[in-house]
Subunit: 218 residues, 2 copies
């Protein structure tokens, strides 16, 4: 399964909802309530997305670093289908998110944001069996590196033969996404996360449609 997730890293809720409508029409599979949106508007951002899109998959990028149960519960109660915990959080926090996801029968994702993460840590995260590992080059690092450059064959082999999906985020565009076809050789469950390239484009709906088409061709 190949999905397109659109990250709404926008501070204003109304603006986020307007763009959400466009990318939904363009074929986005997952709508992401981005971290800045949640910190700006609170859990209400998740609730409003849920109200406007009763069926579409909604991910809450809470970037959880602590209080794993409290924060993931808050997001699931607000209508999120999936939450994000940070790979640099402690194992206790990650396990709390896992347990809460299981209690709610919802999904959870572990992100590799921040300080470069070695293969050992990624391996131990995969062993916790999240629905997805999010390989993430943060926005602040995208001038220096791109997600299309960091996925080595050695790392991709870690995902082979288990049920952990791979999500990828960090400067993905319509033009460079072709460079991310290799994971499909190893992993059946792949999510491509696109933010700025869609949300800052002149026509987010059309841009979403073009990227979705490209994903299906990969």
């Amino acid at each position: 399964m190949r999905k397109l997730q659109v990250a709404l890293d926008i501070l204003d809720l109304n603006e986020a909802l307007e763009i959400a409508k466009l990318v939904y029409s363009g074929g986005a599979d997952i709508l992401e309530a981005g971290t800045p949106l949640i910190k700006s508007e609170g859990v209400n951002a998740i609730k409003e997305l849920r109200n406007h899109f009763p069926i579409t998959e909604i991910l809450a990028d809470l970037k959880i670093m602590d209080t794993g149960k409290l924060e993931s519960e808050m997001a699931y109660e607000a209508g999120a289908d999936m939450v994000v915990v940070e790979g640099w959080a402690s194992d206790n926090t990650i396990k709390e998110v896992k347990e809460t996801a299981q209690n709610y029968d919802k999904k959870w994702m572990v992100a590799t944001t921040g300080t470069e993460m070695g293969t050992d840590r990624i391996k131990s995260i995969i062993n916790l069996q999240p629905d997805y590992v999010l390989r993430h080059v943060g926005i602040d690092d995208q001038n220096y590196k791109n997600i299309t450059d960091i996925l080595t064959k050695d790392e991709l082999e870690l995902y082979e033969g288990n049920n952990v999906g791979l999500a990828m985020a960090g400067g993905i565009t319509l033009e460079n996404i072709y460079r991310l076809h290799e994971p499909l050789n190893y992993i059946s469950n792949v999510v491509y996360v696109v933010g700025n390239d869609i949300t800052n484009s002149k026509n987010p709906e059309e841009r979403t449609r073009l990227i979705k088409k490209k994903i299906q061709e990969l």
Copy 2:
């Protein structure tokens, strides 16, 4: 300088404001808009704290992992005097927070939440000259370790002779705070962060007063 910071890790804003009034009366030096409060209520939580406490120091625990400029600007604009970026964030993110703090003439703190952080990383964080390093045992880890056990003499010596203050959080109570007097031998600028022990007590105002008194005696 020894300060008492009270962490308002409460989901409901009105409840947080009620407790804030009590701990303010009890002598809290810094009011902390906790991460769960901000994720629940959004940046409005910071604005409302500022409205109710025009002069008291307010810290926004945003636990920034990415988009350092965007998130710290949002907090400073809302009235925060200090923001928290995570030590596991990338150096680019940490530097963005530093620059934004300098532009606003505000303070910033780097937290050591999550996966055990080695002395090398802490040293490189101190070299970035934040106002404070927050040595943090997250709430999810407090059943397994306590802030009173993790500060080694070797680590404390890192702070000696520079202008970086030390904040400490993670299960500090009226009963165990005496065990945290040693940092005062090395560091002139110390913040004690207390959460549950005050906010869950029957009398938060009195509890704050007792802990504040203890800090002054350390």
